[in-house]
């Protein structure tokens, strides 16, 4: 509890909301950021096709429901009392199966009706949840356990086995052939909505209540209203998560409850939120969810044959525990680095990661496209169904002898260029920080320039070497 109280004053939002708070920044983002770039680099090196328009598109499609589910958990977890909503997975499943059944009955056709329905159901459920917590005064975890069992039961009643068809306009979203899909729009809007929400006094009340409910009550915060509000927001996110989940699988699936609950809680904790309440942010939750996606992605690129799913499970568990243990190092790091800035850290790591991405996507493919036709080099990544998240092996580019030679030849160049860029950025930041408190403008400019450059390079690479054979192997599940 002591770390929670110590960090009440610390901004839960660091990057977008209030960049560069200097020593007051949230050190809990250290682990997710590190993990994110580590995994991203590894993923790109293992499978450069991730950094194509298709790859990113399908990554967004698969990761978005998870991110939104994590947001939904985040809103209620911040409210305190240990409100870990175990029922979030079955709730998403409930909206999913009812949506499919209602659509099958010809009732829900209009996109607006679908969105309204999903959000209303999610909000209504969370509203009831909040009422039970407030007036019956049972521990929230028991309420959520109860909801978990009840909803996963009723889901199977509504739709006994996976099936059904999503609305036509929605099933096209799940293809993941382009980055700029409606799913991305939903994700961005939801994130912006949360960030706007963090600017309100209501959010301050919420954090106060989460870290010390008695203090909030005595200082006149309307704790009932705040709790209901937090749950309503959580319900809206859950509805959006259900819509993107439906778009992902293009059908109904009643039995995703356990998986989504466990993954979302894990993502939340990995993202640096405190299950005790009062701490948590969109940036951390986003990183946590994306990290989990990347873990499964990276693991899927290795080929372990028959024991694939076991190795995946082993590595998944180990990474979880290890990254949680890393958070124990934060006090030591804080002692030595007073002014840890997540933004600066993010920028420096993103520069390195960008270098790795450019190396993986451009270096050897551009130079020797003719000699190495590499039949499996470009294999479009299908949206991975969530049930295969742990088990589906992906196609990996075979590394030939020439490529290996090329890699060892190119590596020094790439590394030195990356080093130069990093040094340049560091110098720039150091100079600007010496007389100014904020480095936000510089950071934004640098990041956007780098992102634009990266996107441009990727487009080029795409155009030059079109997918040689977009054949897909069926995942042996």
């Amino acid at each position: 509890m002591s770390d929670v109280t110590a960090n009440i004053a610390i901004g839960a939002e660091t990057k977008e909301a209030e960049p560069a708070q200097g020593g007051r920044a949230n050190p809990f983002l250290l682990v997710p950021i590190t993990l994110f770039f580590g995994l991203l680099g590894l993923a790109v090196l293992r499978s450069p096709s991730l950094m194509t328009s298709n790859g990113i598109g399908s990554a967004i499609i698969v990761a978005t429901p998870l991110v939104l589910a994590t947001y939904a958990l985040m809103a209620s977890v911040i409210a305190g009392r240990g409100t870990v909503d175990l029922s979030i997975g079955p709730l998403i499943g409930f909206v999913n199966v009812t949506l499919i059944q209602l659509h099958g009955a010809g009732i829900l056709e209009n996109p607006f009706a679908v969105f309204g329905y999903a959000i209303a159901v999610g909000a209504l459920y969370q509203f009831l949840f909040a009422l039970v917590v407030i007036y019956i005064r049972v521990q929230p975890i028991i309420v959520s356990l109860s909801g978990y069992l009840a909803l996963s039961g009723i889901n199977l009643v509504i739709l006994p086995r996976p099936g059904g068809l999503a609305p036509q306009w929605m099933s096209e979203w799940g293809l993941g052939t382009t980055i700029f899909s409606p799913v991305l729009l939903i994700l961005v809007l939801a994130t912006i909505g949360w960030l706007l929400f963090t600017q309100t006094a209501f959010f301050t009340h919420l954090r106060l209540m989460g870290s010390d409910e008695r203090a909030a009550y005595t200082s006149g915060v309307p704790i009932y209203l705040v709790r209901i509000g937090a749950h309503l927001i959580s319900g809206c996110f859950a509805g959006l998560a259900a819509i993107t989940f439906t778009a992902l699988i293009s059908s109904g699936d009643p039995s995703q409850g356990t998986t989504y609950t466990l993954i979302a809680v894990t993502a939340l904790v990995l993202g640096g939120a405190s299950l005790a309440g009062g701490r948590g942010g969109a940036f951390g939750s986003f990183l946590g969810a994306v990290n989990l996606y990347l873990i499964t992605f990276v693991l899927a690129t290795f080929n372990f044959g028959a024991v694939q799913s076991f190795v995946t499970s082993l590595a998944y568990g180990t990474i979880l525990v290890a990254s949680l243990l890393l958070t124990l190092l934060i006090p030591f790091i804080q002692r030595h680095i007073r002014n840890f800035s997540p933004v600066l850290y993010f920028v420096s790591l993103s520069v390195i990661a960008l270098g790795v991405i450019l190396h993986a996507t451009n270096d050897y493919q551009n130079r020797a496209p003719a000699e190495t036709p590499t039949p499996q080099a470009f294999v479009r990544l299908e949206p991975i169904p969530p049930q295969n998240l742990y088990v589906a092996p992906l196609e990996v580019p075979a590394v030939g002898e020439e490529e290996k030679a090329l890699r060892s030849f190119a590596a020094p160049f790439v590394l030195s260029s990356i080093l130069l860029v990093v040094i340049a950025v560091f110098v720039r930041v150091a100079v600007s920080q010496s007389d100014r408190k904020t480095i936000a403008p510089a950071v934004v400019v640098v990041i956007s320039a780098l992102v634009l450059l990266g996107a441009y390079m990727m487009r080029q690479a795409n155009v030059e070497t079109p997918p040689a054979r977009p054949a897909l192997q069926e995942a042996p599940v």
Binding site: V157, F310, G317
Partner: protein, 459 residues
């Protein structure tokens, strides 16, 4: 409601009496109408009507009388009589209305639902609520245990009346058998919860032990040695869990989940090395192990599987041990207040790790016993225990925040869950409906005793 008020005001106010009578008469009238609609014999209808009215009015008076004596002395004047009544008896009235409405709805929708047995069941239900609201106040310490036993006996009698063969020896034996599996699996969860932690690795260790034991036996290790090995490894995994989660107590949920994934994956990798069938293990279970846990097992010639006796002995040892030994008292001391426990030189680390070790040990034991029961190894055998152990602990009345409860409560919780699930199976519900009703019932059961005080009383 927390402070005990000495003043006795047994007289019931006029509005309360009128409301009670009206509700009772309405209930009776509903009963009579349905009785006639169903074409029951007149004697039965009259009998049940009288019983309904009598039980209801008695219960009403008794409950409300208790409430008045417990209620705080209200400020004179200002509030009207009706409003006062409403404010005082609100929860009880809500509960009664909800139950009556549900009964009415069920009677209207389901053909043949309204019969004498169901009316009696309803009365039993009402009696349980009345008793728990009245007598339950006498048991400050063990209120949840008292309520649990009431619910258990109520459920059991309702089941025995409504379902053919519910109270037969076979069914009781099978209920006890499955209850012992769940009970042994919940030992660790209870102990860990007493310290304020959670252990989600239990189902994975159960599955891993299940597969691992059969694998060892298949390798040619003597079965007794294999069992000891598996139990030792389970305890070792528990120790690892304990050390890893000690500094991350707030995140114990995720840490144990992570180790659970790792354990499950690791054991499967081990067992599939050199095997053509990845993940599937084959072997023969020794007869003594099947006898230990199979339905037709016998204990020293008595016709019930030994695992029930083992569970009973285990429960005895744990309940007595936690009450009377130093270890047990220290455990509670740590759960209630870490700081003060440390001041009297109780090592938090030692107890935390020890409880996780016990948890791992009993999870491995459940896995081994389940192997004897089923005769074949399956990694997913423990999956249902992920939330079921948690539910048993919670329904029994052990607080997840630590320091309150005990294994005796969990035994009651396990039995309640088991009787409830076999009742739901008995009335012919599918698995999904069972789970639905299960979920809906946990909340009110817990709400009967585990309500936290209002925030304004905590300041």
């Amino acid at each position: 409601m927390t402070a005990a008020f000495e003043t006795q005001t047994p007289k019931l106010g006029l509005p309360a009496t009128i409301i009670g009578l009206a509700a009772g008469i309405a209930l009776t009238a509903i009963g009579v109408i349905f009785g006639f609609v169903q074409g029951l014999s007149v004697q039965l209808i009259i009998l049940s009507a009288i019983a309904t009215l009598a039980a209801f009015t008695w219960g009403w008076r008794f409950v409300l009388g208790q409430f008045i004596s417990e209620g705080p002395p209200v400020a004179e004047g200002e509030i009207s009589e009706a409003r006062k009544t409403w404010l005082q008896f609100r929860p009880a009235i809500y509960g009664l209305i909800v139950i009556l409405l549900a009964f009415l709805a069920l009677s209207l929708t389901i053909e043949g639902f309204f019969n004498v047995w169901n009316v009696v069941s309803l009365l039993i239900l009402l009696t349980i609520i009345v008793l728990t609201r009245t007598l339950g106040r006498q048991f400050q310490e063990n209120r949840s245990a008292f309520i649990g036993i009431m619910v258990l006996s109520g459920l059991f009698s309702i089941g025995a009346m409504n379902i053919e063969g519910f109270a037969s020896a076979i069914n009781i034996k099978s209920m006890l058998l499955f209850a012992s599996f769940l009970g042994i699996a919940s030992v660790g969860q209870t102990l860990v919860a007493l310290l304020g932690g959670l252990d989600l690795s239990i189902p994975f260790i159960i599955g891993a032990a299940n597969v691992g034991l059969l694998y060892l036996i298949g390798l040619g290790v003597p079965p007794w040695l294999a069992v000891i090995l598996v139990l030792a490894i389970g305890a070792l995994l528990g120790v690892i869990n304990g050390f890893l989660s000690y500094r991350l107590q707030g995140q114990a949920l995720i840490v144990t989940l992570g180790t659970g994934f790792a354990i499950s994956g690791g054991v499967q990798i081990l067992t599939s090395i050199g095997s053509a069938y990845s993940g599937n293990v084959f072997g023969t279970v020794p007869p003594w192990l099947s006898n230990l846990a199979a339905m037709n097992g016998s204990t020293f010639g008595l016709p019930f599987p030994p695992v029930i006796a083992i569970w009973g002995a285990l429960a005895m040892i744990l309940i007595l041990g936690m009450r009377y030994t130093l270890y047990g008292r220290y455990l509670y001391a740590l759960g209630v207040n870490r700081t003060s426990a440390k001041r009297v030189m109780i090592s938090e680390l030692a107890y935390w790790v020890m409880m996780y070790a016990i948890s791992g040990f009993f999870a491995a034991m459940t896995g081994s016993l389940l192997l004897g029961w089923s005769g074949g190894g399956f990694i997913g055998v423990g999956d249902q225990y992920l939330f079921l152990t948690l539910a048993a602990v919670v329904v029994g009345g052990t607080s997840l925040l630590g320091g309150q409860g005990g294994y005796g409560f969990t035994v009651i919780g396990v039995l309640v869950l088991q009787v409830l699930s076999s009742f739901l199976i008995g009335i012919g519900l599918d698995f999904e409906w069972q789970q639905f009703i299960f979920g809906l019932l946990i909340l009110p059961m817990v709400a009967l005793y585990a309500r936290s005080p209002h925030i304004r009383t905590q300041i």
